[in-house]
């Protein structure tokens, strides 16, 4: 497109088309579809959203909304506690799945299932399992103890923990898989040498596995934190933000404001998350474009 335009414009010097090689002209043409998508569906929405969220009153309103404060705290719990538990389990399981056994090979094929199936039906499945009257878990508790089980999703702390558990269930296989790749890249000779020296399980981990995996582990943890900020399904489909809007996280809160027709508040709540998101994103980009 830039080429057809250049003829009409009075630019000094040779026309654009003769300054660019044919390969570069094709380069611009082939890049154009993505640039169009980027302008129309990233730049415009983001700019428009920022413009909607420009008024300072929005932030005052957010500050005064207890649901926003609660959602911010929940998000933090989700990220700091949930992700770290998940990554520690993934690190542990990567060692388990690296064992050479036929049955472990088969188990690893099954283990991937939560990642391979869509989250909507499985989250709803868990939601029914937690149903206080009809759910399988309370039936089980009743048959074991004769007592009624708790009303799981009616307590904000338990409900949020369950949302975190669902998140872990869904994304644990992916991170375990990546950590397995990292673990398998470690030279086997090191372990054999350690074996000969009579190193304990912990020493092998501390002095061989961890030093070669820590960069990968930290990268994965940060990446998982950024992505979990956008985990809408685990909370929305399990608790719907309830009870009494106490289990919202930032990603579901934006949609809640949108539903209440408070678009500028929805945007402002997202803008508030940016000071936390952007440094993480910057750090990740630095890491990945090395």
């Amino acid at each position: 497109m830039a080429i057809t335009l250049s003829g009409d414009q009075a630019i000094p010097g040779p026309p654009l088309s003769s300054r660019l090689s044919p390969a570069q002209v094709w380069g611009i043409i082939l890049l154009a579809p993505y640039l169009l998508v980027f302008l129309a569906f990233v730049v415009y929405p983001v700019g428009y959203g920022l413009w909607l969220a420009r008024a300072p009153e929005n932030y005052v309103a957010l500050y005064n909304d207890p649901i926003f404060a609660r959602a911010a705290v929940n998000t933090l719990i989700f990220l700091v506690i949930g992700i770290n538990i998940k990554m520690l389990i993934a690190l542990f399981l990567s060692g388990f799945f690296a064992q050479q056994r036929t049955w472990i090979k088969w188990l690893s094929v099954i283990f991937i299932l939560p990642w391979a199936v869509p989250s909507i039906p499985t989250i709803l499945s868990v939601r029914f399992m937690l149903n206080p009257e009809w759910g399988m878990i309370n039936h089980f508790i009743f048959s074991l103890t004769g007592d009624d089980g708790p009303n799981w999703l009616n307590d904000p702390t338990v409900a949020l923990s369950m949302a975190i558990a669902v998140h872990i269930w869904k994304s644990l296989p992916f991170w375990t898989l990546i950590l397995i790749t990292g673990r398998l890249a470690i030279s086997h000779d090191l372990f054999e040498a350690a074996e000969v020296d009579g190193a304990s399980w912990w020493q092998k981990f501390r002095y061989i596995t961890w030093p070669s995996m820590q960069t990968l582990y930290v990268t994965c943890t940060l990446l998982s934190m950024i992505w979990t900020l956008g985990d809408f399904n685990s909370v929305y489909l399990l608790t719907g933000g309830g009870p009494a809007d106490l289990t919202h996280v930032l990603s579901t809160l934006g949609i809640r404001y949108l539903r209440l027709d408070q678009l500028s508040l929805a945007m402002a709540s997202i803008v508030c998350a940016m000071p936390f998101v952007l440094p993480l994103v910057y750090f990740m980009m630095k890491r990945l474009s090395r």
């Binding site: 390969a23 570069q24 094709w26 380069g27 082939l30 890049l31 993505y34 998508v37 980027f38 129309a40 990233v42 929405p45 983001v46 428009y48 959203g49 909607l52 399981l93 388990f96 064992q99 056994r101 472990i104 099954i110 283990f111 939560p114 391979a116 869509p118 909507i120 039906p121 499985t122 709803l124 499945s125 868990v126 029914f128 399992m129 089980f140 296989p173 990546i178 790749t181 990292g182 990268t219 990446l223 956008g230 985990d231 399904n233 489909l237 930032l250 990603s251 934006g254 949609i255 949108l258 678009l263 929805a266 945007m267 997202i270 998350a273 998101v277 994103v281 980009m285 990945l288 474009s289």
Partner: protein
């Protein structure tokens, strides 16, 4: 065959002590869904681990659309299929062209476009959902399949470009140079040299985009609302609108909906693991 030593047995037992909980943890929600799908309503709600009378009746109801919530099942299945396929094709087209342009043609500004794409990739998609919803409204695309297709292409492209660019960089430059010597035009290089060599990555990225679109819930339920325009996940979410939802039918439909992506995933696992995990985290 030598008898296992006591030490081997102990190791095996310890591994099983990890393996069995992992198996149960993984399978219970999926088994629960399957159990509901083959149970009559009374059995499903009684908390049994296996129904007294397993049945395929629920599947029959779904396939014959014999319930209020299921009256547009086939239309919605088709919507999901069409949208996923379109997102796959469009993402592949846009991302392959961009990766070729940035990696092989070294277009000026390519590095910056790549960084912008990477930046978009890291911003959680849920944060873009609200402004995207308004934007689609401004473009007059709400309730139109194109709104979801374009939104999903926007979300899928950055990662696609990035992975394909990484893969392109690994192809030797000499190939392009040799083709140019033979008088090949840029498009011929793209078609005859580049595309065939990139096939494994293209399969991985195509699968990634198709699954992403098929599984998407948030954007689908924001952008589409008409019963005959929505995709299957939105229809599943709509089951919750009633107090006495037919959960056995919800789980049956969910089971049917989950089968194609699981099958695709396992069929292309070789490509997915190689192509995607390598790109997902470069340490």
């Amino acid at each position: 065959m030598k008898l296992p030593s006591l030490r081997d047995v102990a190791t095996e037992a310890r591994l099983l002590l990890i393996g069995i909980p992992v198996f149960l943890w993984t399978m219970i929600p999926i088994y629960h869904m399957f159990l509901f799908a083959i149970s009559p309503k009374e059995d499903a709600f009684s908390g049994k681990l296996w129904p007294d009378h397993p049945t395929l009746h629920n599947f029959e109801i779904v396939f014959k659309q014999q319930h209020y919530f299921l009256r547009d099942f086939y239309v919605q299945f088709w919507n999901s299929t069409l949208i996923a396929a379109s997102v796959g094709v469009l993402t592949l087209f846009i991302a392959t062209a961009a990766a070729f342009s940035i990696s092989r043609l070294k277009v000026p500004g390519g590095r910056m476009v790549l960084n912008l794409a990477l930046f978009t990739y890291f911003i959680p998609a849920a944060f873009l959902a609200v402004p995207m919803y308004r934007t689609m409204g401004n473009y007059g695309l709400l309730n139109n399949h194109w709104s979801l297709i374009l939104a999903m292409v926007t979300i899928a492209s950055p990662y696609a470009i990035w992975v394909l660019k990484q893969a392109s960089d690994k192809l030797p430059v000499e190939l392009d140079e040799a083709a140019v010597m033979d008088g090949a035009t840029t498009l011929q290089i793209f078609r005859l040299v580049y595309l065939p060599l990139m096939m494994p990555s293209l399969v991985a990225i195509g699968t990634y985009a198709v699954l992403l679109a098929w599984n998407e819930y948030l954007y689908a339920f924001l952008l589409l609302s008409n019963d005959r325009e929505i995709t299957l996940p939105v229809a599943l979410g709509n089951f919750l609108a009633a107090d006495d939802s037919p959960w056995e039918l919800l789980m049956t439909t969910g089971f049917i909906y989950a089968l194609p992506p699981a099958a695709v995933y396992y069929a292309f696992r070789r490509y997915m693991v190689g192509g995607l995990t390598a790109g997902a985290v470069k340490s």
